[in-house]
């Protein structure tokens, strides 16, 4: 205690405040320099190099050839496939995820469901990449557990045209992390729907359908669409899951970038830059839409 009373008067003068304002401002900014330097060296500078490189030949002179080449079939198809798979899995993920999340927040739902669901979603959303692909191979691959089980009961999946190593298979596997991601991002918005709004609508004679048409959806749509866009971006960026499942059988943008980088695709390494630039642009658009919708949805749902 004695120490404290002895120290106190010195502090009341606030030594920092005696310095001129300018030098204090400089000190304030100096404290965040390491962070910005780090981000500059390991994120911004590489990103800049990527963008500039997309417009350069291998020897460094400016060119638009790389960008033009993106419209050739082999690259354009990869973009088309990537967009299709991202749209498909964002759709399955957000529709199913919405219904599951909504079921868990309803009044009659057992209380434990909510916490079990959010824990499970946390695990499943993070259980992506190589192990996820293996889990599905073990389940629905040619010798998978479910495949074998159905075979014993007279249903041969692989003779009926199903294969895990296809577009449909990828959708099935991607949805495994898309669905829980949707549950995690939409649950706070569902919590924001006030019970009184539904009661008020019901008191005024609205059916459940009318409530959703005039109250629920108008409030929720920015969140729903925003989540959809977020899921789209996640699927678009996924690399490990796709590589280990379909390898080079289905041409997707991330897979193509990987193959150009390791040198087993195009002879021109600058194509990796051009492909990356296209990918960054598409995801940027998605993220901007997401941010705008997020702002809009916060108007009703604090």
């Amino acid at each position: 205690m004695a120490e404290v009373t002895r120290e106190a008067p010195a502090v009341l003068q606030r030594p920092a405040d005696r310095r001129p304002r300018v030098s204090r401002a400089i000190l304030d900014w100096a404290a965040v320099i390491p962070f910005f330097a780090y981000i500059g060296v390991f994120l911004l500078l590489p990103a800049l190099w990527l963008i500039v490189g997309a417009f350069q030949t291998e020897s460094g002179s400016l060119t638009l050839d790389n960008i033009r080449a993106l419209f050739n079939d082999q690259y354009a198809n990869a973009y088309l496939n990537s967009v299709e798979i991202s749209l498909a899995t964002a759709l399955t993920g957000s529709v199913c995820g919405f219904f599951v999340a909504y079921a868990a927040v309803k009044e009659g739902a057992p209380g434990w469901i909510r916490s079990v669901l959010s824990t499970f979603s946390g695990v499943a959303a993070n259980f992506a990449g190589i192990p996820l692909a293996f889990a599905f191979v073990a389940t629905l691959g040619t010798t998978g557990v479910v495949t074998a089980f159905l075979n014993d009961h007279g249903i041969n999946l692989y003779q009926n045209g199903f294969t895990l190593y296809s577009f449909a298979g990828l959708v099935l596997v991607y949805t495994y992390f898309q669905l829980p991601l949707m549950i995690l991002v939409i649950s706070p918005a569902l919590d924001g729907l006030r019970r009184e709004w539904h009661e008020a609508a019901t008191n005024l004679g609205a059916t459940s359908l009318e409530y959703w048409r005039w109250v629920g959806l108008p409030i929720l749509w920015p969140s729903l669409l925003g989540s959809f866009v977020l899921l789209f971006g996640t699927a678009f960026a996924a690399y490990a899951t796709a590589t280990s499942l379909v390898g080079s059988q289905i041409s997707l943008v991330p897979i193509l970038i990987g193959r150009v980088t390791t040198g087993d695709f195009a002879s021109n390494p600058q194509m990796a830059n051009a492909l990356s630039l296209g990918m960054i642009l598409i995801i940027s658009v998605a993220m901007v839409i997401y941010a705008l919708l997020q702002r809009r949805s916060s108007r009703w749902l604090q």
């Binding site: 965040v32 990449g129 293996f134 709004w197």
Partner: protein
């Protein structure tokens, strides 16, 4: 809590989710335990665990994740603290930067980092340390959000002024006032970072390092049962991390911080 009655429709969706989540997990568990047409055992696990290549890659990934956590904290804790205390104007900038790793996904970041340093400082990309440096960037959205939420849950300004008036210097304040209050947020960020690094394949594969995921990928091409066993091991790790976050980091930006990004 919310409006609407709980109906069969809802039961259907919850059951659907349960089946969809659990069947692949059951599938890989069963597959990893099969030793013959009708026999079960832990053979696949034994083979995996005894494989020196497994031990090496697992250890490497563990080292990488610890190093990433330490570097992330050293970089982020003072920055988030300072921005909250003195430079609130900068918060929007930080929010923006924290989204960038989503916009520049792992594949493109790998291409970019390899490209930049191959031409300028080749020694930067010659060892696994480049993975640590890159993973700090990949983990940035989670570490930042978790720490920022943690920082806002107590009042760092008041505590700092109190500590100052008792004569504490900056080092003491950070170590004995801020860190103890921030420990749950730091732990949950750390668990997420470890999950991220242990499962990260893209950058490690493109930069040609034999991490746990890269090893797993190679095994998958040869030994299906061992691959399933590895999938179970990495599932256990993910569970452990999620429970860690849930029980240690109650209420610290939990829902936000659980989302691990694209792989």
């Amino acid at each position: 809590m919310k409006r609407g009655r709980f109906t069969l429709w809802d039961v259907f969706w919850l059951l659907f989710a349960a089946v969809y989540f659990l069947v692949p997990l059951y599938g890989s568990a069963e597959f990893s335990l099969e030793t013959g047409p009708h026999s079960h055992g832990f053979d696949a696990y034994g083979q995996v665990l005894r494989d020196p290549a497994f031990q090496d890659s697992f250890l490497l990934s563990l080292e990488l994740s610890i190093a990433t956590v330490v570097l992330s904290m050293i970089l982020m804790v003072p920055t988030v603290y300072w921005v909250n205390l003195r430079l609130p104007r900068l918060r929007r900038v930080l929010d923006f930067i924290a989204v960038l790793p989503f916009v520049v996904p792992a594949v493109t970041l790998a291409v970019a980092i390899l490209g930049v340093f191959r031409q300028t400082f080749p020694w930067m990309i010659s060892g696994p340390h480049i993975l640590v440096l890159s993973y700090v960037v990949l983990a940035l959205p989670f570490t930042y959000r978790s720490l920022d939420a943690g920082m806002r849950s107590f009042n760092p300004r008041t505590l700092t002024e109190a500590a100052q008036s008792l004569g504490a210097n900056w080092f003491t304040i950070l170590l004995r006032v801020i860190l103890p209050n921030l420990r749950f947020a730091m732990l949950s960020a750390a668990f997420l970072t470890v999950t991220l690094v242990m499962g990260e394949y893209t950058m490690a594969a493109l930069m040609l390092f034999n991490t746990f995921s890269v090893y797993m990928f190679q095994i998958g091409n040869e030994q299906a049962n061992q691959a399933a066993a590895l999938a179970m091991i990495s599932l256990l790790l993910t569970w452990a991390a999620m429970f860690g976050i849930l029980f240690l980091g109650r209420g610290v930006g939990r829902r936000q911080a659980q989302i691990g990004g694209a792989r």
